[in-house]
């Protein structure tokens, strides 16, 4: 199975590449800075595509799945109007469809669905991409991790809706989840909020 990882040079992306390599997937890393190419190769990407003006979708051909990692965080602050660039996500979704890729995994953040007028004032405005995924009949899985931390993965998580925003989860565990759901049928067509917990990742869906 060949997997394209968009945003592979984000810190979660690096862990995703390592995890994919461990599980012996063939990977295509899609990044935006030429300088990071050697890093991606070292982490196990079979092919690295550097997007210039975000025109990188040729590399989707031949891929079976896309893991899209957005550099979003629910703690990014109320003054940031868009936590993730949903235009980019929508573009990726359309291109995936054009290349006949059926499996699309999107990593965003918990509370990303909240809108500008939410009481919490934590502005998400990322729902558009989520909705599009659902409408386009793609086999999607949306993973919304809680606060990302640089700790060792513990291999166990908690899933649910409306998880507390105080929770945290290691980037390693998020990467393990993104790779686990690739072929896990019980995760198809679903959205998960995840945070560190007690259920082993394999059994959490």
């Amino acid at each position: 199975m060949k997997v394209a990882v968009v945003g592979a040079s984000e810190s979660v992306g690096e862990h995703v590449l390592m995890e994919l390599k461990k599980k012996e997937y063939e990977t295509v890393a899609v990044i935006s800075e030429n300088n990071r190419k050697p890093d991606m190769e070292k982490l196990g990407a079979a092919q690295v595509a550097v997007s210039i003006d975000h025109d990188f979708y040729d590399v989707f051909s031949g891929c079976d799945a896309v893991i899209y990692i957005s550099g979003s965080s629910h703690k990014a602050g109320g003054n940031k109007s868009v936590l993730i660039d949903h235009d980019e996500v929508i573009k990726s979704i359309n291109e995936a469809k054009n290349h006949g890729i059926d499996r699309f995994i999107l990593m965003s953040a918990i509370r990303a669905h909240e809108q500008e007028d939410s009481d919490s004032r934590t502005i998400g405005d990322k729902h558009e991409a989520d909705e599009l995924l659902q409408q386009e009949h793609l086999n999607y899985t949306i993973v919304r991790p809680s606060h990302l931390v640089d700790k060792s993965g513990i291999g166990t998580i908690q899933t649910g809706k409306g998880l507390s925003t105080d929770g945290e989860i290691s980037k390693e565990d998020v990467a393990a989840v993104l790779v686990e759901v690739l072929n896990n049928e019980s995760a198809f067509y679903k959205t998960f909020e995840i945070t560190a917990g007690e259920t082993p990742i394999k059994e959490a869906f």
Binding site: S32, N35, R36, P38, K42, L43, D150, K151, E172
Partner: protein, 533 residues
């Protein structure tokens, strides 16, 4: 007896305790002070005169903690000390409200560019994360600070493969490739206790891309504990590579050079702290030390001031050739720059013979820890900011700069100091006291007494118990990674994508009147002075 009588007795006892005993003590002290012949002040002012001695005794502590300002203390100011401790504990170098640096004073500054590098444009390799532990402050009150130790996966800030510094690339069967610019300077087992050495070894091993210099006290198992890359130092006393009669043992040397962990050897010609022969009391030469150093246990060691194996540049180079031939690993020398004529002779010999060391470690006169004579520590050898550019210039003028790597040391304990040394011509930087601080040194300045209160520079078991190897080794790793991260930050500010590109043009010297001069001018002035003589 009534209750009043008991109360009365109680009162008398109390008076006895609180008045008579102290008065009696003071009278005795008065008599003692008055009769002694050592101190005039006590003879003239018995009892009261003691205030002077008490103040003198606790003065250093009072100055360090209360009266010196943050930028004052020597050898390291409070600020510099804290910078190292915080890098080790919290892996944190953020400050608020601006620098405490004295911008009026003279010093070197890094020239930033108008268009710095982006983080993503840096030539850094962060693919092998390091599992370490840092402290996180939960609550910082006046009397308590609540913090917890938590595991963290951090970026190692290694150099890319193509930027790695290769020592002995052209001369050795097994060159030494370093993927970080900072390593641990020579500190012997014996000068530092086994706990400190073990913590350093494990921390450096964890951080990777760095090295550990054994010091001249030989290679111990404590150095090997964390599997770091090791530069084994050989002093004139030849510890660890000697025959029982004190001659150089090629057999032992071969054994050492076959060890995978040992990446290079360093001949210690002289050092800021010890341009003299070493001396170790017989009682300190334990079975263990004797085995490591290959000397006789219980017997006092008096080391020579200079190697017997060579006495000039060409005979030293022959010795180095043989070492390299037998060991297959890079061989360097450690020097303190003082006599520029002798140095120029050596460089000229390097040029003529095509031989010479693979690296030269230049210790500034301000470098050096442990025990040495005051006069040697204070005035022998040039400070690193003068020595380093001159050495670099000399090698360049003779056209042999590419044959040898320069390792600089001398109080270069923060990223800015390291970057300035790199710009002055260093390829790599050695740190000793910064690493001591990271394993718990509080600058008590008693390294020479074996009474180090925090168990770092002592072999005393009781004092060493205070030093937790497990806790401290994370601080060592955090400190060295933090230095490397800081170097990349400074490189980005100077418009470079890697700190290996620091050149003279990236720094300037500002004197106390605000005049700016380039390193070139300073070096040329030094060389002119050298040529005029």
């Amino acid at each position: 007896m009534g209750i009043t009588a008991y109360l009365l007795i109680g009162l008398i006892v109390l008076i006895g305790l609180f008045i008579l005993i102290p008065v009696g003590f003071l009278i005795l002290l008065y008599i003692k002070d008055d009769r002694q012949k050592q101190h005039a002040i006590l003879r003239n002012f018995p009892v009261l005169g003691n205030v002077r001695y008490i103040s003198e005794k606790i003065g250093p502590e009072l100055r360090q903690y209360l009266f010196n300002n943050d930028n004052e203390g020597k050898p390291f100011s409070r600020k510099q000390y804290e910078d190292v401790v915080k890098a080790g504990k919290y892996k944190e170098r953020l400050i608020g409200f601006g620098s405490n640096h004295d911008f009026e004073a003279e010093g070197f500054y890094i020239r930033n560019t108008l268009f710095p590098k982006q983080r993503d444009e840096l030539k850094v390799d962060n693919t092998e994360k390091v599992r370490t532990k840092t402290y996180k402050v939960d609550k910082d009150g006046l009397f308590t600070r609540k913090e917890h130790h938590e595991e963290k996966l951090v970026d190692p800030y290694l150099l890319r493969e193509e930027d790695a510094v290769v020592i002995g690339g052209l001369t050795c069967r097994t060159p030494f490739k370093v993927r970080g610019l900072v390593g641990q300077s020579a500190m012997s087992f014996g000068a530092l206790g086994e706990n400190a050495i073990t913590a350093l070894s494990k921390g450096l091993g964890l951080a990777k891309g760095t090295w550990m210099n054994t010091g001249e006290g030989g290679l111990s198992n404590y150095h090997l504990a964390g599997n770091p890359d090791i530069i084994m130092q050989i002093g004139p006393d030849l510890f660890g590579v000697r025959k029982p009669n004190g001659e150089f043992s090629w057999e032992e040397f071969k054994k050492k050079s076959e060890m995978d962990q040992i990446k290079a050897f360093e001949l210690k010609l002289a050092q800021g702290a010890k341009t003299r022969g070493g001396h170790v009391e017989g009682e300190k030469v334990t079975e263990e030390i004797a085995k490591i150093r290959l000397v006789e246990a219980g017997k006092t060691i008096n080391s020579p001031n200079r190697f017997y194996e060579f006495d000039n540049a060409s005979s030293m180079f022959e010795f180095i050739e043989k070492l390299r031939d037998v060991g297959g690993k890079p061989v360097g020398i450690k020097i303190v720059v003082g006599d520029l004529d002798a140095l120029e002779d050596m460089v000229a010999t390097m040029k003529e013979s095509g031989k010479g060391p693979d690296f030269i470690t230049i210790d500034g006169g301000e470098g050096g820890t442990g025990a040495t004579f005051q006069e040697l520590a204070d005035a022998v050898g040039l400070p690193i900011s003068a020595a380093l550019p001159v050495m670099d210039e000399m090698l360049t003028n003779y056209g042999i700069r590419d044959r040898v790597k320069l390792i600089a040391s001398g109080k270069l304990i923060t990223p800015d100091k390291v970057a300035i040394a790199l710009a002055m011509g260093a390829d790599l930087v050695n740190i000793a006291r910064g690493f001591m601080i990271s394993v718990g040194c509080i600058m008590a300045q008693v390294c020479h007494t074996n009474n180090c209160p925090v168990g770092v520079a002592t072999t005393n078991q009781k004092l060493q118990e205070g030093l937790s190897v497990e806790e401290k080794h994370y601080r060592v790793a955090n400190y060295v990674i933090s230095l490397r991260e800081g170097l990349f930050n400074l490189a980005a500010a100077a418009g470079l994508d890697s700190p290996v590109q620091f050149k003279r043009k990236h720094i300037v010297h500002k004197d106390d009147l605000g005049r700016i001069s380039h390193v070139e001018e300073i070096v040329h002035a030094a060389m002119r002075a050298q040529n005029k003589k």
